[in-house]
Point group: C2
Chain length 218, copies 2
């Protein structure tokens, strides 16, 4: 799936992706109404296309639709965010374990390289870069695991909790906490230690969940 085809048939921009990205980027805040007419204008698409997009995004759990009352960006309360993370923990642990079983030398080097970059980003206090590396690490682990279904599920769940994830990632001192957890995950996977990778992922996501709870106490 080429997310950025160089010159190919991406002439006709996909409205669904546009709206999805707008939501995940935060252009639309949770709870905000998404009125078809407005979106039609904003994205220069037909109403039918907008309708289809909203339908698809509703299936993805990103927007809520109630009959005859339209769509709005779904607001994920804390307890539901926790549930999402509990599922993520189970599925990411599966992916990490599988990745540990299947990893090759080149891929191991790549993961370690991401680890080094993360260390550097934390040392420089570059939170944004760390966030990107974090996402890339998790994505790469999923890819190495070869579990397409698990990847789909995780991608879906991540989209739903991207806001909470952002809140946590930008907490002061948070990178210092999560960096060693990430490095532990990388080491376990590269060592082919499925059991250890499973544990390391769970430790990491537990830590994220704790931080999430703390963040919401404000």
């Amino acid at each position: 799936m080429p997310s950025d085809a160089p010159s190919a048939t991406r002439v006709r921009t996909n409205v669904t992706s546009d709206i999805r990205e707008a939501i995940m980027r935060g252009d639309f805040v949770p709870g905000q109404r998404l009125i078809e007419a407005d979106l039609t204008e904003q994205f220069a698409a037909s109403r039918g296309a907008v309708r289809s997009a909203l339908l698809e995004l509703a299936a993805d759990g990103l927007v809520e639709r109630v009959a005859n009352r339209g769509a709005r960006v779904r607001v994920v309360p804390l307890d539901e965010a926790i549930e999402i993370y509990e599922v993520r923990m189970a599925v990411e642990a599966l992916c990490a374990a599988k990745a540990a079983e299947r990893i090759g030398d080149a891929e191991a080097e790549e993961l370690r390289s991401i680890g080094s970059d993360m260390r550097a980003a934390v040392a420089d206090g570059d939170t944004m870069r760390y966030r990107q590396l974090n996402q890339r690490l998790h994505q790469r682990i999923r890819e190495i695991s070869g579990q397409r279904t698990a990847s789909n599920v995780l991608e879906r769940l991540r989209a739903q909790s991207v806001r909470q994830q952002f809140k946590v990632a930008t907490m002061p001192g948070r990178p210092q906490v999560s960096l060693p957890e990430h490095l532990a995950i990388i080491e376990a996977i590269c060592a082919g230690d499925a059991e250890g990778a499973d544990r390391a992922i769970r430790v990491h996501l537990s830590s994220v969940m704790d931080a999430m709870r703390k963040a919401s106490e404000n």
Copy 2:
């Protein structure tokens, strides 16, 4: 979900559910083309409604859509079915563990009652009834677990693999194998043994996966 509401507001029957059920029931076989005009006639709905339905079902992973070439019932190859079951294992294990932690006396009695019914159904050789009870057991465990997100994910995955599940369930001698596994799950959950419930679920789903592999060797 009342499939046959007696008098309620089910005047306007939902096309999406109808098609979904038709697929899961096997009225449409995997790979079969789903032509909008035909569905329009068959379900007495407008083409727009059918289109929306196909869009939604595609998001659910039940049908495949390619641009300008229409929709067809998605065919799930064995290796993908296995992946689906690996994810199910992870998530159902989570649900079982949570259910074990939260179960009350009334619910425990209900689960045990399902267990007895299953025993009876196997003794009578009533495979269909056993299948129903099986589904109800898993569903009830999800409900008791209180994990909405996990339930959604599982419901989705179950819809995709319902065909394989059927193949396995109707294998001769299969109920005799899975009955004790189910009873073990029930006992662990009722005993409040989260760890044991997790293990029991994994044992059971591993067994299903093995059976699935054998079934596809034909």
